[in-house]
Symmetry: C2
Subunit: 293 residues, 2 copies
């Protein structure tokens, strides 16, 4: 999909600047996606990318450079960035990472869009959450964001967490127990534990990188553990259809797309940057083009 750029204002002194910061950043599709969306709506914005090691001055620069409207924050800065901003919601503080900074006249407001994007993606897929049991594979940053957002916003029966990293796992479990009313269980990721958890899970969410390019044949869940009426959500979107998703589809299960979550988090950033309704189809088209190339 090629968005029209004919109406886009030329860059001038009034152009607002947004930027990705992270390290590495070389494979990010964010500049292409956001610039295409600005162009499609003829908004006077531009989106660039900076590799950043020294985080404090990178974020502080937004206060000094007026017109530096927003940042997308990616690995490895999503937690440390919280130290240098002025405002973070209680939920994002519990999640303990952010991926977006908005410069409101020198006041830096940080937020995470991963959790809300995951929730929206699940709801858009017409997945029922009431009294459901969620099994989350992985307890890193994305898992924290999704688990807290679901626990705070959906009437789940329970969340079961699994990870091979016991420290991350126990910390997320204990933070969820302290910060939400949802029933939480945490177990080491082993075949036996997985088999038992899959026996009661209604929604399975892979928040690990397993199955991501360049290892597309990897999958944490053996096919025989998938049961009828389970819903499978893989946050991995490269490849678009992971082994976990293709296996679930083969079994006739409903699946939720990591690409949809990826688009939704970008949409939410875009709407905070601009105040405009995002051209979702344009953004999706650019993301799909970018993955293919």
């Amino acid at each position: 999909m090629t968005p029209t750029t004919s109406k886009k204002p030329a860059i001038s002194t009034s152009t607002q600047v947004c930027a990705l910061i992270g390290n590495p950043i070389s494979h990010s599709l964010s500049p292409a996606i956001h610039n295409a969306a600005f162009a499609a709506l003829a908004l006077d914005f531009v989106y660039v990318a900076f590799e950043v090691e020294d985080l404090a001055p990178a974020i502080e620069s937004m206060r000094a450079l007026k017109g530096f409207r927003g940042m997308s924050v990616t690995m490895p800065h999503k937690t440390e960035a919280m130290k240098y901003v002025d405002e973070i919601s209680e939920l994002d503080q519990q999640i303990a990472s952010i991926n977006t900074i908005i410069n409101q006249d020198g006041r830096l407001v940080a937020l995470g869009t991963d959790g809300p994007a995951a929730l929206k993606t699940i709801k858009d897929a017409d997945v029922e959450l009431g009294e459901r049991n969620v099994l989350m594979l992985g307890s890193g940053g994305v898992s924290r964001a999704i688990a807290f957002t679901l626990a705070k916003n959906a009437p789940l029966a329970s969340i079961a967490l699994m990870d091979i990293d016991k420290t991350l796992l126990e910390r997320l479990a204990s933070d969820l127990r302290a910060g939400t009313d949802t029933s939480i269980r945490a177990d080491a990721l082993s075949h036996a534990n997985l088999e038992r958890a899959m026996g009661t899970a209604d929604l399975v969410i892979n928040c690990t990188p397993v199955g991501m390019h360049p290892n597309p044949n990897a999958c944490l869940v053996p096919p025989e553990l998938l049961r009828p009426r389970q819903v499978v959500f893989d946050v991995v979107y490269n490849p678009l259809e992971t082994k976990l998703i293709s296996t679930a589809k083969t079994r006739g299960l409903k699946t939720v797309s990591g690409m949809d979550m990826f688009i939704n988090q970008a949409v939410m950033q875009f709407e905070r940057f601009t105040g405009a309704r995002a051209p979702v189809d344009v953004m999706r088209g650019v993301a799909l083009d970018g993955l293919e190339s």
Copy 2:
């Protein structure tokens, strides 16, 4: 003139960023000029503009934001900026202002292009400088840049300085006497002093804002003081032809264009930003378009 943009790479994570910083910046043509030049050469660069009050973090940001390749520095920051960079030539230190910062892998190299641009413009106009007497009106930043550059690089007979601001005037005169071998004279800007100085001046350079839009009928030099074979250079480029320049032309004198100097300083910045030879005609076309609109 509309440069072709067909080959320009889309902004991506590899795009290098340049920016204007200053306050105010709203009327600057620099984003239009540099972006048109990047586009004409299909260079993977983008040029934005930031209004800046707090200078130190604005400049420090270049060290933290890799890919932030260069800055154009304008009023009121051209002197204070020198405090926050790593390398400045001896001549630029004498001039005591810079207008360009190049980020060389985190090392910030500052330079001024006003003086070299003025010298190039004078030379391109085939103005002889050997053993000539130069009269400079004004002793502010641009005057300092031009006076030091000429004194260091041209075999002048003398430079006469005039200003109504005695502090600026005496400081520039004393700095020129200490830092160059050129004969320097400094006088208050009065009709009598001007009449005397015009009697021996070969090249008259207006470095004051007198005659600038919105006061295009103002002129420091009474027409009757202009003499045959004098050359008149007005750094003011808006309007393109100031009252001083049109009067000199009416008298049949050779004139040197402030617009040419403006283009040359942008060309020199561009070539330092990119390492590429600037598309001068493209840049001039955009500047002229910008002035007309």
